[in-house]
């Protein structure tokens, strides 16, 4: 498969089992530093599972077993020396359903920097919160009500709050697991715009069901089917000139 510039995360021969069932079979993928990479494929093809191996969120699922090498800047994230807690700060994650903490908007964003000791004092913390909310395009909407509960926001605002929360700890990679599937088109457009702005600063990997979305936001696209990686390449190539028959059938809507 084609190797993008300066690969940030590199996965080699990854297998994942849930108990006896194999969810991912021999997937090798490199993610570029400056790219948005989209993972597409029909339901149950293992794209979310694969995403969750990249920050070891699969560790929390009983019976999940991961094999193969995944490196972040050349460092094996499954080695015993790797601190999982720090890894998850470096590789942030945005989930399918907006899941703000039932705390104030400020606390939602401040929580990460606080537990990682990223702010020396209160003004500095407030600065990080403001910067993160600005970067997530939410500042103007919430600056007057930072003490209100994060769960009181609309769905799209909640999801941007979750993105602000993820970037507040200054990660190197952001994983997004179908971040727009619970949102209306306008909120989706805002998130996509946001992804454009975040590109380059963070390596972004996004799982999506929506092929138009993959075409709009990503530079690289990986097509998964039945737990295997079928095709990986530049997004424009995948959508206009797929090499594999299965890819072509999927993006033309033959199945999915």
């Amino acid at each position: 498969m084609s190797i993008p510039n300066q690969s940030k995360i590199s996965a080699q021969h990854v297998n994942v089992w849930y108990g006896a069932k194999q969810a991912i079979a021999d997937v090798s993928l490199d993610f570029g530093q400056d790219h948005v990479t989209a993972l597409i494929g029909p339901s149950g093809c293992g794209k979310s599972t694969f995403l969750r191996t990249l920050n070891r969120m699969n560790d929390t699922i009983a019976g999940a077993k991961v094999e193969g090498d995944i490196t972040l800047d050349g460092e094996n994230i499954y080695s015993p020396d790797m601190d999982v807690v720090q890894l998850r700060a470096r590789v942030g994650m945005v989930f399918q359903k907006p899941n703000p903490f039932p705390k104030s908007i400020f606390e939602n964003v401040a929580y990460g920097p606080r537990i990682h000791g990223l702010a020396a004092n209160k003004p500095q913390l407030a600065e990080i919160v403001e910067k993160s909310l600005r970067r997530a395009g939410l500042w103007d909407e919430v600056k007057d009500r930072l003490t209100e509960s994060g769960t009181a926001l609309s769905g799209g605002q909640q999801q941007r709050l979750c993105i602000a929360r993820a970037i507040a700890v200054d990660p190197e990679v952001i994983l997004m697991d179908e971040p727009c599937s619970a949102l209306d088109p306008i909120a989706t457009a805002k998130i996509e715009e946001l992804i454009h702005e975040l590109k380059g600063r963070y390596a972004i990997v996004i799982v999506t069901h929506n092929m138009q979305q993959a075409a709009r936001v990503s530079q690289r696209t990986a097509f998964f089917h039945l737990g295997t990686l079928v095709e990986y390449g530049a997004t424009s190539d995948i959508f206009t000139n797929p090499r594999q028959e299965r890819t072509k059938d999927y993006i033309t809507g033959r199945y999915g």
Binding site: V85, R88, F95, F101, P102, T151, R165
Partner: protein, 429 residues
């Protein structure tokens, strides 16, 4: 839109007959449905009314029987101090030697003598056995009364007290009528009932000792059962691997919650008194025993509350690099706390009303002074109620009901506090 709706079905296939919603059978079905709905509502209403009725009957009976327990009949006893023959030096009544001086003064004999003088033969039997204590207090409060004749209000004897509240035998009723005519009898709030401890004499028996015993016992129970219960629940839900051992532990805890309480009493007797040699009848042993009983309830409620915290919150916290312990203490526990507190209320309320296990560890002893330390012999409210309900003296009937009222108030206060705490945590998000 409406055009389409009214338009007759033109292209209906012959095998599809439109459903007739107006056949008698349909009508019957509708009536049956409404009937079932109605019956269910009435049954539910009846159930609510029935349980509310039982509660009302219970409360009304308790208040009616127990209210008089908070009242005390007093008799005005005239005492001519100079002729009472008290061996007392008024000069010594000021300062630290006062109690000693009063102890040897023969006040009890003088009180009896004064009663006989005032009310005739058997007059001393009209007064409570502890009447002289009131005389002593009166002298202590104002030594000046020793110089002349004065009237001291003292508690009436049990029989008079009962008769004055219109429940007594004819002889006592006659005495009450006589005293009433003389204006020498009155009824007032029975403060000693709330400040004194158990006594053989119902006019002097109080609830304070048992109340304090309950307080100590509950404190020990809460301090042991709550942290251990919550930590067990957290460990089992968040850390323990799912295997045969944890299944076994889960089954054991569920069974433990259903074990009859007297068995916990036997366990406490064997372990705390037998093995560890802790003091008999002490509130710390009672608290530990009740903690054993309460813990499973807290563990079960805690686990359910923790399970109910949405996994998305755990994911969110883990996803920004919170360690497992941070996830637990920053997110899971605060969200589960209202549920845990509900379980704790139920467990503590059950522990507060428990009698059987405490009988096994000797908390049924006659305790005439309130416990000062956790290791002092003590009794608790339900045991006190049990003991008083067993007494032959008629005066204890109303004391029993009054003690039940005190127990219910204690329970209500404890629950209100817990519910206040729960609501406080709930509104936080």
């Amino acid at each position: 839109m409406s055009d389409i709706a009214v338009a007759p079905p033109t292209s209906s296939t012959p095998d599809r007959v439109p459903t007739d919603w107006r056949t008698p059978e349909m009508q019957r079905r509708i009536r049956r449905r409404y009937g079932a709905e109605q019956r269910f509502r009435l049954l539910g209403l009846a159930a609510v009314i029935l349980s509310a009725g039982f509660l009302a009957v219970l409360l009304v009976t308790m208040v009616m029987n127990g209210a008089s327990g908070f009242l005390q009949t007093r008799i005005a006893l005239p005492i001519d101090f100079p002729s009472a023959g008290l061996m007392l030096d008024p000069a010594r009544l000021h300062g630290p030697g006062a109690d000693l001086a009063l102890a040897g003064a023969g006040i009890e004999r003088a009180t009896d003598a004064a009663a006989i003088t005032a009310f005739g033969k058997d007059g001393d039997k009209w007064l409570s056995d502890g009447a002289w204590l009131n005389v002593r207090e009166a002298v202590k409060r104002d030594p000046a009364i020793l110089r002349g004749r004065s009237i001291v209000w003292v508690p009436a004897a049990d029989t008079i007290d009962v008769a004055a509240k219109r429940q007594g035998d004819p002889a006592a009723e006659a005495i009450v009528t006589k005293l009433q005519a003389a204006g020498a009898i009155s009824t007032g709030f029975n403060l000693p009932f709330l400040t004194a401890s158990d006594s053989n004499d119902p006019t002097r028996a109080g609830i304070w000792g048992a109340f304090k015993g309950s307080l100590f016992t509950m404190l020990v129970t809460l301090l042991i059962a709550f942290p251990i219960g919550v930590l067990s629940a957290l460990y089992l839900e968040e850390y323990a691997p799912r295997n045969r051992w944890t299944d076994l532990i889960e089954v054991s805890i569920n069974n433990l919650a259903a074990v009859p309480s007297i068995i916990f009493g036997l366990l406490g007797l064997a372990v705390f008194l037998g093995t560890f040699g802790m003091p008999r009848s002490a509130s710390i042993v009672g608290g530990l025993t009740l903690a054993l009983m309460t813990m499973p309830v807290i563990v079960i409620a805690g686990r359910n509350a923790i399970k109910a915290v949405p996994p998305s919150i755990r994911d969110a916290a883990l996803g920004i690099g919170a360690s497992p312990i941070q996830v637990v203490f920053h997110h899971v526990l605060p969200l589960a706390l209202p549920g845990i507190l509900t379980g704790t209320i139920i467990g503590m309320a059950r522990a507060l009303g428990e009698t059987a296990p405490l009988l096994m560890i000797g908390m049924r002893a006659f305790i005439a002074s309130p416990p000062a330390r956790l290791t002092d012999p003590a009794t608790v409210l339900p045991v006190q109620i049990f003991l008083w309900s067993d007494q032959i003296d008629r005066g204890f009937v109303e004391k029993t009901s009054a003690a039940i009222i005190v127990l219910l108030v204690f329970l209500l206060a404890m629950n209100s506090f817990a519910i206040y705490l729960r609501n406080k945590f709930e509104t936080r998000w």
